[in-house]
Amino acid sequence: MPRRFPLLWASLALWAATAGPARALTAGQALAMAAGSTDERVAAVQQAVLDADERTAAFLQALADDAVQLAAGKALIVRGDQGQDPVTGAEAPLPEDAEEIINNNRMRGEIDTALAGLALLGQDPARRLAAAQALMRAPDAGRLALLDKALAQETHAPIRARLELARAAAMLGSADASLRRAAAQTLSASATPDTRRLLNERAALEDDAQVQAALQAALRAIDGRLAWGERLGALFSGISLGSILLLVALGLAITYGLMGVINMAHGELMMIGAYATFAVQGVFRQYLPAAFDWYLVAALPLAFAASALVGAVLERGVLRFLYGRPLETLLATWGISLVLMQLVRTLFGAQNVGVENPAWMSGGVQLLPNLTLPYNRLVIIGFALAVLLGMGWIIARTRLGLWVRGVTQNRPIAACMGVNTARIDTLAFALGSGIAGLAGCALSQVGNVGPDLGQNYIVDAFMVVVLGGVGQLAGTVYAALGLGVLGKFLEGWAGAVLAKIAVLVFIIIFIQKRPQGIFAAKGRSFE
């Protein structure tokens, strides 16, 4: 055991040496912590922590590890076949009829916080801070004495501040109304979602009018300070959702917007990109575990290539016979999407597969107490921007883009000028499909990867393109970001599903007003 918690041990030993003679763990205490009703055991644990020595810590750890057994009215630590007296540390014979101790969830939580409490008195500042934070989350008036003791010897200012908060949080549960009021005032100075939750919980139980008023005042103060974090948080998740919608819709902006193909298999092309990412991850795990963190970089071109290839085959094999009959491309591509979905089920199974974030994409930057920006979302926003710029560049600046624009604007003239229109159709469709593959690769980092992946996004994708105005790249961008932000703000107010419904209704109404989308193509034709 000392091997596992060297710091705890060292600090406890030091504390035991400097804090003067402390009462050591007694056999009675050990028994009280191990046997009896949960209430009695909890009280015993809280009592024991107050004058703990290393034996107490070892015993608590043994309790947490389910390594304590009862034998002949004594609690024994059992490691392997070896019994050990918790008070003396001497080996003790383990009788046949030794009884295992079962900890319920409450007891486990209590033991964990008790261990955290012991860490409070330790040497390592990082551990003390973590312990103070843990105690803050599970406040209990029974631990006030321990917190006072820790405060008395704490010199590190940030940890002191944490401890004060933890102490106030514990005081909220005190039986003394004036203590509770003081606690509310202390807590109002901090602005974290944690303190708000604590205050809210207390306010629901509070009978005393004065304390209730103090609680409400504290809640108002915190709300005011948290509001900005929340607003920015909603804006960020809106932009993040918008960037995903943009990725999903960009490929469709080519295949539908420019070419007029209602590609219901667009979602399945994204699914192919996601599964390609999954396959690359598997290859890296198997053959290049050292470079695993960079599998995503390798997966990007592969996802693009896989989806583009499938797209090119579809265009050559099916869609080129259907140009000019949009409703029939809809039916045929729906059929293709069913086949692709079943194909993936046959190859990879019907269950979702696991795609991991590489290490550099997990975690996030904390900007405000209640605003953390996860790295994977930030990366996807940047990626969506990069794909958008890349696509804009291809359409506006390259020869392929010129031909695509030419063919979509006036096919016969383009053909007369020597453009191989059939080949341009195939290339453009492959480009749109490849971008769908890139979107799938990105989606694999934020959501489930399964055969249904495409179905979950296809309605959204079409909404974005239709709302933006068909054939309008800028419209697609505005529509994706607008829908993302609108959706997230509504979500904070009405819940996820209602927000989604509201967005769909909004689109239906918007299309009534502007049937051509945000950016209508200018023209004089009657249709």
Partner: protein, 372 residues
Amino acid sequence: MITSPLQLPAPAPLFTRAGWSACAVALLAVCALAPVLNLWLPAGSLLHLSDYTVALLGKIMCYAICALAMDLIWGYTGILSLGHGLFFALGGYVMGMYLMRQIGRDGNYQSALPDFMVFLDWKALPWHWALSDSFAATLVLIVAVPGLVAWVFGYFAFRSRIKGVYFSIITQAMTYAAMLLFFRNETGFGGNNGFTDFKRILGQPIATQNMRMLLFVLTGLTLLGFFVLARALVRSKFGLVLQAVRDAESRVMFSGYAPLPYKLTIWTISAMMCAVAGALYVPQVGIINPGEMSPANSIEIAIWAAVGGRATLIGPIIGAFIVNGAKSWLTVAAPEFWLYFLGALFIAVTLFLPGGVMGLVRQCKNRLGAWP
């Protein structure tokens, strides 16, 4: 100069003699043959119609009504709806609410409230369940609710001249939004699980052989009735305008017609037909849940119509039988092949059979006619 009055050709009859005979045969098959084969022939007999087959045929006839409704709006008016699953489900839900009330206190919790409400700890019926204990009100609401939804949606969509693919996509959004709404527990439609465990209809037990046969015959008669109605509609002047709208809407407008009322009427009628199909479907299948509103289901209705052949009325009915027959056979024989088959069917029909099965039949007929 006196011109002779314009000679108009005599209006074509609704059906030729062969058409009426075919209807009579179908009527006979539904009303006499099926009950005899199912109820009176012993189970061992070669001609015996098993309960499973009766249930399957009843279900497919409901689907055929949907396909017929789809043909009116898509085949004859050129408006592809990807939201007909919503109207089907709404009709089904109205019927389902009535059937839930008919359970009475025989549910798992022995409460007057439907089980899922007890489970959610609700104390009283929500307001929209008010009329659900009356069969007469249910019959009215089956067509009134989806009809109203369709009318309002159609009015705004057609007024802004949304058409073609745009219309298809926003109908898809409509049914998708409704599905999300019905999946929620607090909307009072049983959430995920929808309605099931029906016990009685009009006080009679629902799971008996006779009741099953009755519902089957009713569905068959409805299908026939709707077929004759649809035929009358498309042959009338109203129907001719619809076909003109399909082929050249601008020219219809320039000829002095406002397409809006025509489109709106056929859209609402089509939705109501679908709703009746849903209401007949629920007691026969014994369950209704929000899955019926998924965009995929609505697209399948369009497939039935396309497979059979658009703008033929009889084609979509045949298409519904072919596709669903294949489905019920394949999902038992080789479940993993069903989606391959359905997908391939979609692709093959659009590529090789633009006229569907009826187009094939017509081609064969022409070939045979040209035979010396």
